[in-house]
């Protein structure tokens, strides 16, 4: 699981209010080396929840991100490269994600998180 994905994930169990952000307890992290994609980082960072990314990175042992996006750095290539790295290259291979509202846990094994819910846990819908 990439931190890019984590930044968008939430627990959608019926009893969660926002279910966001999921708390990461990693047991294995793998850092890959993918090519820097300038256009993608610039596009996707507009939709990144920055405080959540900072927190997620620190839960994975990366404490280099500034607490707010430095306004003068949004076109700074070395900053954007570091951001690309955190969003796309840092992978949680195994561990647990926890819903902040309900404590429901979602386990990660071989990089794949298990979001399977029982019918009783799902949101009600009118049909």
């Amino acid at each position: 699981m990439k931190l890019l994905t984590h930044n968008h994930l939430r627990s959608n169990v019926r009893t969660a209010t926002t279910g966001y952000p999921l708390i990461i307890t990693p047991t294995e992290i793998r850092v890959t080396d993918t090519e820097y994609n300038d256009k993608f980082v610039k596009h996707v960072m507009q939709n990144v929840n920055w405080p959540v990314l900072v927190q997620a990175a620190s839960q994975c042992g990366i404490t280099t991100l500034p607490p707010t996006i430095p306004p003068n750095l949004t076109s700074d290539t070395s900053f954007l490269q570091a951001l690309h790295h955190v969003l796309v290259n840092v992978n949680v291979v195994s561990g647990v994600l926890k819903c902040p509202d309900t404590g429901r846990e979602f386990s990660i094994r071989d990089g794949i998180c298990d979001f399977m819910l029982e019918e009783e846990e799902c949101e009600n819908v009118k049909i």
């Binding site: 990439k2 968008h8 939430r10 959608n12 993608f40 996707v44 939709n47 399977m116 949101e123 819908v125």
Partner: protein, 278 residues
Amino acid sequence: MSRPELTGAAANFYNDTEARKYDTNSRMIGIQAEITQRALELLQLDDSFPNFILDVGCGSGLSGKVLEEAGHYWCGLDVSRDMLNVASERETSTKGDLAHHDMGTGLPFRAASFDGMISISALQWLCYSNSSKQVPKRRLVRFFSALYGVLKRGARAVLQFYPETPEQAVLISECAAKVGFAGGVVVDYPNSTKAKKHYLVLSFDRGYSTPKGLQSAAQAGVRVDSSGSSKRVKVVKKKGKGKTKEWIEHKKEVQRKKGFENVRKDTKFTGRKRKDKF
């Protein structure tokens, strides 16, 4: 054409053996790629930058591979852990991420996460119930309502699916409309039983009208999303073709073997088309 949906749960059908067969079948690879390309075309993304796409029912990642080749990053969900395992072994993938998830339970993302969504050959599974708790209509509405939330405003979703009956296509469209989506079903190659493909195209834009389906079926592939190992095979009767010479000779042979003596001899007239008489 066999319908894997009639055999039970998708996670059981797409087990390890089937997942590996699926991922290495060259006909499958070709056709899933062709469908995904068509879905991308219908999605009408802003291609001036790489998009972040949701792929629901991503399977072994054949559809994701096409997204990736088009430059996009993607997140894939699937109910079969075996399919996902095969997908995660794909070493060339650097832009995709995977999660184990049943689309009938909603979607585990915050609002406005994705620039677009595709689903290739998966949606029809939601029309079947595999336990007393699973109500197809409830699962469909829950899925579409979640989808409505996780897409960015202005984004579109394209879902290619294989309806078993016209009623299924109607049910699916109605559930999508119920949660507020505009759009409809685009049917490519409507006159070919084999190549016919249904794409549910969804948009937030009330004024959106779906494009026309493709017509010539010369190049289109048939359904190959199962390797034919399903048990409960549905026999589809060919209509209107008449009885062929081979069929008649086969029938006669069977009758002879059963010991009937009045079976007519096979001649050059057997199974010939007679003049139409009015």
